[in-house]
Amino acid sequence: MHATSLRIKMKTTTDIQNEIIENFSLFEDDMESRLFYLMDLGKKLPVMPDEHKTEDYIVKGCQSKVWLYPEIVDGKVIFEADSNTEITKGLVYLLVQLWNNRTPDEILNTDLYFIDKIGMSRMIGSQRSNGFASMIKQMKMYAVVYKEKVKSL
């Protein structure tokens, strides 16, 4: 067998979004179970080093504290993230799972359809939906900045 075919193919952002939609659909309309599941997801976030949790990396527009720390490695964006509240941790996990280790172009070209499909705004309310939108904006901002950087190299 050829060596490269053994490598697990990385899931596309579409694959991941479809998985998220399917997982949430298991809970149907049971809001409490959905939120417990979201908090469980948050626990999967790798520990973020304290030295990266600075004012500079706080996402503006979130009521809870959310930190997002980006790096570019081999042309791909690596995200570290954390929050002081469990539900928000789950929210930022969804985005990190989707966009970690992607090129800036992949991030910028993603059509985020899973959010409506899982009924996010009903699940987390308007304040947190705004916070969630701020996280998305921030991650896309980092992607734009890295894209520019790569261009100017």
């Binding site: 309309d29 809001m31 409490e32 939120l35 469990e86 539900i87």
Partner: protein, 418 residues
């Protein structure tokens, strides 16, 4: 104790009979605002359907009816707090508006540089900021009565600078909350009023949380001002009360200028109307004021003592169930904030390892409405070293069955984080 028929009381509150997130609504956010009985809702509709008119102005029949109904509420409020005169009852937009009125009229006329205003560490922002503003303007000094870990005012503490040590001839105004919205503590206001009067200070009582639970007799208390909001007393939003002693209200300069508050206007000089109208400039919130009477009637019909006894029963039931839960879990994750023996039916707590936002959202998922956050008492939260609590506050239409559902939801949460 006469048994209340809670089922029939609940029937009077249409809003309670709905599902939220697929579950029957459990409304435990009564300290923020209570729900309204049908009699109040109907009164608002009836007014606009049959009597809508401006008051105190026209001679036509509708104006007459509207004025009579409006003034009937004033009489009802007078009886409700037992003030001597109905002129001592001024309609405002709410507690906040009433406190600003006193600060900007009585405060403006009576404070000078070096004078002192005393508030407490458990005040709502609306009983802090208006005093800060007028103190800054006048060069007066704001002093704060400290509290202990149980959330009680320090009155005559041997070591700390409690209320009695703060008082001096420089004290001009003492403005304290009767019942804390964040903790539920009932403060010893009778004692505060007596001691303040002994140094010649005037006393404002923030009764926002007190009026729906405690019997209030302003003559017996001898407070100089009492303020509260209709919406925390089963009444409409946008209506507040300022009670002030007649001679004080008469001596105070007006607040806002406009129609209704004048006797005669020329371009050279305006003479002001008598109280209470001097402080009621412009067209007031007529429909809601009229409907407020029905809220007070609702409370009077059940009886405050019955309401209070029942709410206390709910409070101790909830405290006991949460204590039981807390003791069954190794690290005792629940901490009660505000543990005075002297409390109304407000229960504030934190859960170790879970942010109050998350708890609020998890409870909402089960149709349970509680308040989470700082409850407009940031200095108080700072004292306890927290940035907020989860607050359940009970009213006469709540039940033990609802508390069971609430405690079970909390149980799932604390087991999740364990």
């Amino acid at each position: 104790m006469a048994k209340l028929n809670i089922e029939s009381i609940r029937k009077q509150f249409p809003v309670l009979h709905q599902n939220v997130n697929g579950k029957p609504l459990i409304y435990f956010d009564n300290a923020a605002t209570t729900q309204k009985p049908l009699s109040v809702i109907n009164a608002i509709r009836d007014f606009y359907e049959h009597d809508n008119s401006n008051i105190h102005r026209g001679v036509h029949t509708l104006a007459e009816r509207a004025t009579t109904a409006f003034e009937a509420t004033r009489k009802t409020v007078q009886q409700f707090i037992n003030s001597k005169e109905s002129e001592e009852i001024i309609f405002t937009k709410g507690t906040t508006d009433s406190i600003n009125l006193v600060a900007q009229t009585f405060g403006k006329a009576n404070l000078k540089s070096g004078d002192e205003v005393i508030i407490s560490a458990m005040e709502h922002h609306s009983n802090i900021v208006p005093w800060q503003m007028i103190c800054e303007e006048k060069g007066a000094i704001l002093k704060v009565i400290p509290i202990n870990d149980a959330g009680e005012l320090l009155m005559d503490d041997p070591i700390a600078i409690g209320f009695e040590k703060l008082l001096s001839p420089k004290t001009k105004i003492v403005s304290v909350v009767y019942v804390s919205n964040a903790l539920g503590t009932i403060n010893p206001i009778k004692n505060i009023i007596e001691k303040a009067h002994a140094v010649g200070a005037k006393v404002l009582i923030d009764g926002a949380q007190a009026v729906s639970h405690l019997d209030i007799d302003v003559q017996e208390l001898d407070c100089d001002f009492l303020v509260f909001s209709a919406h925390k007393l089963y009444g409409p939003t946008g209506v507040g009360i300022l009670y002030g002693k007649l001679e004080l209200l008469e001596s105070m300069p007006p607040y806002q200028g406009g129609g209704e508050m004048i006797k005669e206007v020329t371009f050279e000089k305006t003479t002001y109307n008598d109280i209470p109208y001097k402080f009621e400039a412009g067209t007031p919130n007529i429909a809601d004021v009229i409907a407020f009477k029905y809220a007070i009637d609702f409370v009077n019909e059940i009886g405050k003592e019955e309401i209070r006894n029942y709410e206390n029963e709910l409070l101790s039931y909830c405290v006991n169930r949460l204590l039981e839960l807390n003791n069954s879990i190794t690290n005792n994750p629940i901490t009660f904030i505000g543990t005075s023996k002297n409390k109304i039916s407000v229960l504030s707590f934190t859960i170790n390892g879970m942010h109050h936002f998350d708890v609020g959202m998890m409870l909402d998922a089960k149709g349970i409405a509680v308040r989470t956050g700082h409850h407009c008492t940031q200095p108080l939260m700072k004292f306890f070293g927290i940035d907020g609590t989860i607050r359940a506050s009970f009213a006469v239409y709540n039940t033990k069955q609802e508390i069971d559902v609430f405690v079970e939801a909390i149980e799932r949460l604390v087991k999740f984080i364990k």
